[in-house]
């Protein structure tokens, strides 16, 4: 196997995925077999792609290939460099876990609906994402991008019998295409300045890389690409599709969409910003930084106010993409002032967070799928006490919550720490204004981190802890083994990525080296693999292994010391303050937990809170029924989307008047058009 080059391996993986998609309809009669076969093959393909990506990053070389297919004069250019390799690794690693998970998860659909479509588009979706990362010309990139977008559209509307799902999928497709148009225009602009525009070779990325674009046009190209990719990544205010599409998609698909599809957009931004366009102004980075900060803070605040588990996770993806963009923006600012080392530190933080987010968000979505599988409920207000019933899912989900909240020794903390370190180095910038402004950004990132912890305490506390909050007792059953294995792998990688950051950074260091000509691994692991020292040991250091082992040792020691004693442990009913029975409606739920947030940050949202007292007719003093109604709306929806949707409806109604249903009138239209055209020719 190792005789093959990374690119060949990656192509093999993609071919396996495409072949699976082609074979799947044949097996549609035997649904169980179809599921086992196709998800095992896609897991194998993903594993191959993981090796390919890993080898591409480790090897550090650039490999390219021209496939003589596609349109005449427009062959497909493929290229595999460390940056692509890293993102291929992310996609394939999560793809591998999710594919295993899907074997168990998708079987729940058998008997309700045919899963053939899910399987076919799942494979196409995976292949599309890998192709986006491999493509090396604008044309092939857009073809793959569309393959990814369209197949994910069909996955989102898999359960298309509900109008809400169709609406979400349509919104997703719409925003994805607005983004795609912007990306296309940006590529067109860059190709226009590249050599060989006339004979189509200007469309290759290598031609764009070699071209020299004037400063102003470069900015236009960058921002079009940025906003195009931002639409895919769910950057505020282009995030509207994300909280609609992710909850309605099957959970394995949401795991992939949230965990890795958003990362392809980050890949696009890095590819255009650092590789294709050379000139860079610090203001580009500033804009990216600001959009990142806004997405991070708004994303997590929205997440805090949600009661729907998957919707909450979708908003939290907005937050994490924001943090990644903050790092990318910082890297661009450092780069524009020629500070390669700091730029590579910031970029490293961003890339690390990409990997981490794929793992923990994949884990959380898989966990949400397991909860959904167990309770058939997405609303957290109807859950509770699952920790007693889901013996596997509960601890694994906890790992996801700990990681996303940025707590050591899990992986989220490493990237958060690296982000803070790069923020703390911003005083080295020669611009006094930036020196004063960037620390405020760091404070916002800190706020985001703290709110994320708050948010995931709510998620875990309301979903898994306490008593069952639902109206009726439902039979809750643990997820089958393939789902457990998928989550277990993700949880293990969360821990591993958190404990051994020096290895990961050493492995990844080739990417900033090729993009920014500076590497941090020499200083980052200068004091051995145990210590992470991004700049210098005196500056800052962090040792995840020691913290992990230290806490474990203290835990074990204390536990052993106390269990050698013979004090007894007794179970007793809850203390009810002498009032009689405590009911499960008295505990805190999702809405009440987030009340302080609504109160403090309420001005950012459109919140309508109504309390109705249904008074007792005979005893007006006693209000025996209190109805509480809360509605939280996205203020950005009304500001940014409502006018457009109103305008397009208005326009559509005007245009609709042309439609009469009489064939003669339609013929008349055609005839008139023909005459007009003839006049102008």
């Amino acid at each position: 196997m190792l005789t093959q080059s990374p690119l060949e391996l990656a192509i093999a993986a993609i071919l396996i995925l495409l072949a699976t998609a082609a074979i799947a309809p044949v097996l549609s009669r035997r649904q169980n077999l179809l599921i086992s076969f196709s998800f095992i093959t896609s897991a194998v393909a993903s594993l191959i792609a993981v090796f390919a990506g890993y080898a591409a990053v480790t090897g550090g070389g650039v490999e390219s290939l021209v496939l003589p297919i596609g349109l005449p004069d427009l062959p497909f250019y493929l290229r595999f460099d460390p940056l692509s390799g890293f993102f291929v690794t992310i996609v394939a690693l999560l793809g591998f876990m999710v594919s295993i998970y899907s074997i168990g998860y998708v079987k729940a659909f058998v008997g309700h609906r045919s899963v053939t479509r899910l399987v076919v588009f799942y494979c196409l979706f995976m292949a599309g994402m890998l192709l986006v990362l491999l493509s090396d010309d604008a044309y092939f990139f857009m073809v793959s991008w569309e393959l990814m977008a369209v197949s994910s559209y069909f996955l989102v509307c898999f359960e298309d019998d509900q109008a809400q799902n169709r609406r979400a999928a349509f919104l997703y497709l719409l925003i994805a295409h607005i983004g795609a148009v912007l990306i296309l225009l940006s590529f067109g602009l860059m190709a226009g300045f590249a050599k060989g525009f006339e004979n189509f070779s200007g469309y290759t990325f290598s031609a764009m890389r070699d071209s020299h674009i004037p400063e102003g046009w470069a900015a236009v190209a960058f921002f079009m690409a940025f906003f195009g990719f931002a639409a895919k990544a769910g950057v505020v205010p282009l995030h509207a599709w994300l909280p609609e599409a992710h909850p309605v998609a099957p959970s394995n698909v949401s795991a992939l969409m949230s965990g890795v599809m958003l990362k392809t957009a980050v890949y696009g931004i890095i590819r255009v910003g650092f590789d294709l366009l050379h000139s860079s102004d610090w203001r580009w980075g500033g804009v990216v930084l600001i959009f990142g900060l806004v997405s991070a803070v708004m994303g997590i605040l929205y997440a805090l106010l949600q009661n729907d588990l998957k919707r909450l996770l979708a908003y939290s993806s907005v937050e994490n993409i924001g943090i990644i963009l903050v790092c990318v923006g910082l890297a661009m600012i450092f780069k524009s002032f020629g500070m390669g080392l700091l730029a590579s530190l910031a970029l490293m933080a961003g890339l690390y967070h990409c990997l981490n987010h794929a793992m923990f968000k994949g884990l959380l979505f898989m966990g949400a799928g397991a909860v959904l599988h167990a309770t058939h409920e997405r609303n957290m207000e109807g859950m509770g006490g699952l920790v007693h019933k889901l013996k596997w899912t509960a601890p694994l989900f906890l790992v996801g919550c700990l990681s996303i909240s940025g707590l050591p020794p899990f992986n989220g903390f490493v990237s958060e720490w690296l982000t803070f370190q790069s923020f703390l180095l911003s005083p080295a910038l020669p611009s006094p204004l930036l020196n004063l402004l960037i620390p405020l950004g760091a404070a916002l990132v800190a706020l985001t981190g703290a709110l994320a912890a708050r948010c995931f305490i709510k998620v875990y506390g309301v979903t898994f802890l306490g008593h069952w909050r639902g109206e009726h007792d439902t039979v809750v059953h643990e997820a089958p083994w393939p789902m457990r294995i998928g989550m277990l792998l993700a949880a293990a990688s969360c821990l591993a990525l958190g404990i051994f950051p020096t290895f990961v950074i050493g492995w990844l260091d080739i990417i900033p080296e090729t993009l920014l000509a500076a590497k941090i691994s020499t200083s980052a692991s200068a004091s051995g693999w145990l210590w992470l020292t991004p700049v210098a040991a005196e500056r800052a250091s962090y040792s995840a292994p020691i913290i992990f082992i230290g806490i474990l040792v203290i835990f074990a020691t204390v536990y052993l010391v106390f269990h050698s004693r013979t004090t007894s442990v007794r179970r007793a009913p809850l203390w009810d303050c002498g009032f009689g029975k405590i009911t499960n409606r008295m505990q805190y739920n999702s809405t009440s937990f987030s009340m302080p947030t609504r109160r403090i940050y309420g001005f950012l949202f459109n919140i309508k809170e109504t309390v109705k007292y249904g008074s007792n007719q005979y005893l007006p003093m006693l209000n025996n029924r209190i109805l509480y109604h809360l509605r939280v709306r996205d203020r950005l929806w009304q500001m940014c989307y409502q006018p457009f949707s109103d305008a397009s409806f208005w326009l559509a109604r005007r245009v609709g008047k042309l439609q009469h249903g009489r064939i003669q009138i339609y013929l008349l239209y055609s005839f008139l058009t023909l005459i007009v055209l003839l006049v102008f020719s």
């Binding site: 920790v387 405020l440 800052a540 962090y542 835990f555 004090t567 805190y588 937990f593 403090i600």
Partner: protein, 316 residues
């Protein structure tokens, strides 16, 4: 041979100091408080008696308490002791001090808080959830201010490692720095909020609607409660130690200087005694504020920290 043993020795000395001195600090604060209110006190050793009493007593668990509820005291204790092994209290020459810089230390406290809040939610009472929700509100507001304060301090010392900060401050001539003064002010406010002291939370209350920290641990008893109480005392002590290391490190034992240790101990005791006096004065003068005034309180902490950062660039 002594060279090899020295790091282990100083590290164990440090951990023992943290474990023993933290109940003493709390005892001292209680004694001072009693004096200031004209009551007779139980002595500085009362917290030790409280803890050992709790260790002997039976542990009563709620019927639906899960493994999270049972593991939380150990995790909280573990994370706090780990933090205690990292923060330089008596000497900057601490082998483990490089394990975590101040940002990672804040995160270590965050682990403890995360599990406490989960434990509060676990038993499914209104109090537990209320405590968790409020605790997380306070901490989420404190976090930006804390980072800003760290930012300012790290600007002055160009390091986020506590030992390094203490070293830089002690080895350079004393300079009047408005930025550090602002950062200190912010840090004091944050430390009061994080440790649940007046005016944010009242550690002595069990009055239902004003509790924050106590509400979360209301269902704990016996050895679990003992561990949590002890960890909480250590947290107060460690915040004091962080403050000392960042702002008043003078007197801490320097590298390879065993001779300074006795003096370091005496100075530490002196500084802690002063901090105790400060806390008692503050708690006597101030009243506990309404819960939704806390955002303003922590907002002013953020303002001070930001002013510290600004004045570093503008004035220094």
């Amino acid at each position: 041979m002594t060279k090899d043993i020295y790091p282990i020795l100083i590290e164990s000395l440090q951990v023992v100091t943290v474990l023993v001195a933290s109940p003493l600090l709390v005892g001292w604060i209680r004694v001072l408080k009693c004096w200031s209110q004209g009551r007779s006190s139980a002595g500085v050793f009362q917290p030790f008696r409280d803890i050992s009493k709790l260790f002997i007593k039976e542990t009563v668990l709620a019927e639906n308490a899960s493994w999270i509820f049972r593991a939380t005291p150990y995790i909280v204790f573990g994370a706090t002791v780990m933090a205690g092994a990292i923060i330089p209290v008596i000497s900057v020459d601490l082998p483990l001090s490089a394990t975590a810089d101040i940002i990672a230390l804040v995160a270590l406290f965050a682990i403890a808080r995360f599990f406490l809040a989960l434990a509060g939610m676990d038993i499914g009472t209104a109090f537990g959830g209320m405590g968790s929700s409020r605790e997380m509100m306070v901490s989420s507001l404190a976090e930006p201010a804390m980072l800003m304060s760290i930012f300012t301090v790290s600007l002055v010392n160009s390091s986020t490692s506590l030992s390094q900060m203490a070293l830089v401050l002690t080895s350079n001539p004393i300079v009047l720095r408005p930025s550090l003064a602002f950062a200190l002010l912010a840090f004091v406010l944050i430390a009061l909020a994080e440790n649940g002291r007046i005016p944010v939370d009242n550690p002595a209350t069990h009055l239902e609607l004003t509790m924050i920290h106590e509400a979360m641990i209301l269902e704990y008893s016996g050895r679990h409660l003992a561990l949590l109480e002890w960890a909480n005392m250590m947290k107060l002590f460690l915040f004091a130690a962080i403050g000392i290391a960042c702002f008043f490190p003078w007197g801490i034992a320097l590298k390879d200087n065993i001779g300074m240790l006795p003096a370091a101990f005496i100075l530490l005791a002196f500084k802690l005694a002063l901090i105790g006096v400060f806390i008692v004065v503050a708690e006597t003068v101030l009243a506990k504020m309404r819960i939704f005034r806390v955002p303003e309180f922590l907002g002013s902490a953020f303002l001070f920290a930001t002013l510290g950062m600004l004045s570093y660039f503008i004035l220094e």
